[in-house]
Point group: C2
Chain length 185, copies 2
């Protein structure tokens, strides 16, 4: 089984080594991990910005098509919610009917994070509702990781935030993917 | 043709009236608009938070399944990028191979918005890359709205931000959807 390893991890300064660490964890659970960085994307030097993003997009989509499941890093990224590109990819797997797994290294819930964001960077109009169902992020993310048989977004079980690039919650998520896969994939 | 009208519009204090205005614009272009608010979701009073979000999720997914295309409001929402739920839905349509259209009422590009976000709410680790391809948002959003034959995220053509709930850029997007639909849907 191949897992697409989505996340803002691609923006880390040590993105290639970090992806290798994730792929090694997957291997210990019998899963082939693939991440959209390094050799998977290839050399983009010499390309214009327009050609570069199109090349990355097309390689990402092809890699997603080659994978059976997604394991998404849904740790909040530059705002109240998870990374935008990761969410498009998560939705893509959901649309394809492929199993969706996700985790967050942040324990604070979406409602609290939304209020913190608005306190620092006010909404453009007054009275915009704050979604607060006691979930780790927007309900579409909770649903995508819960149906048909997932456990929702995996968060730190002890309620303590992990470092942005910590991998212990990711490993819990990989273990979960292994169990579900044995039933349904 | 039915269009799923996604966006953080559902959080507006006047969400039901706003959805009706969008649906009326769609009707002028021969498109049946559906928005996940009001009667489409129904009465959730009396439900627990857990039951409520699950009901909304399942109704949203059913509505998406009934629609041919998505027209997504990708105006930045509580962070550098578009609304999280909207992005999951956009990815879902992409995964299903259904045409994806999107617009933003904000003219500033993703790179500048990411830098503004980080200035107010610093990244959790040093050296996280800022994606800056001169696009309105993350490249996965640009790609989803550009392939196979879209025009990318529709932004204010005069470079001037619109109000969060303005509908003139939405109307340009609806008109675009009409043209593409005549070719491919």
């Amino acid at each position: 089984m191949k897992a697409y390893l989505a996340g803002p991890d691609v923006f880390l300064p040590h993105a290639v080594a970090h992806a290798a660490a994730k792929i090694a964890i997957c291997a210990r659970y019998g899963i082939i991990g693939r991440a959209p960085v390094g050799d998977e994307i290839g050399d983009l030097s010499g390309l214009t910005a327009d050609a570069a993003w199109r090349a990355i997009y097309q390689k990402d989509i092809a890699m997603m098509g080659d994978c059976d499941i997604i394991i998404a890093n849904l740790t909040p990224f530059r705002g109240a919610s998870a990374d935008a590109g990761t969410l498009v990819e998560l939705g893509w797997f959901l649309g394809r009917g492929k199993p969706v797994f996700g985790y967050s290294n942040t324990a604070a819930l979406f409602g609290a994070r939304s209020r913190a964001q608005v306190a620092k960077m006010p909404d453009p109009v007054n009275g915009l509702m704050i979604e607060d169902f006691g979930l780790p992020d927007n309900l579409m993310i909770a649903g995508a990781t819960s149906y048909p048989e997932g456990l929702g977004v995996i968060v730190p079980p002890d309620g303590t935030d992990r470092a942005f690039d910590a991998l212990d919650i990711f490993e819990i998520c990989v273990a979960q993917a292994t169990q579900v896969k044995s039933k349904s994939v």
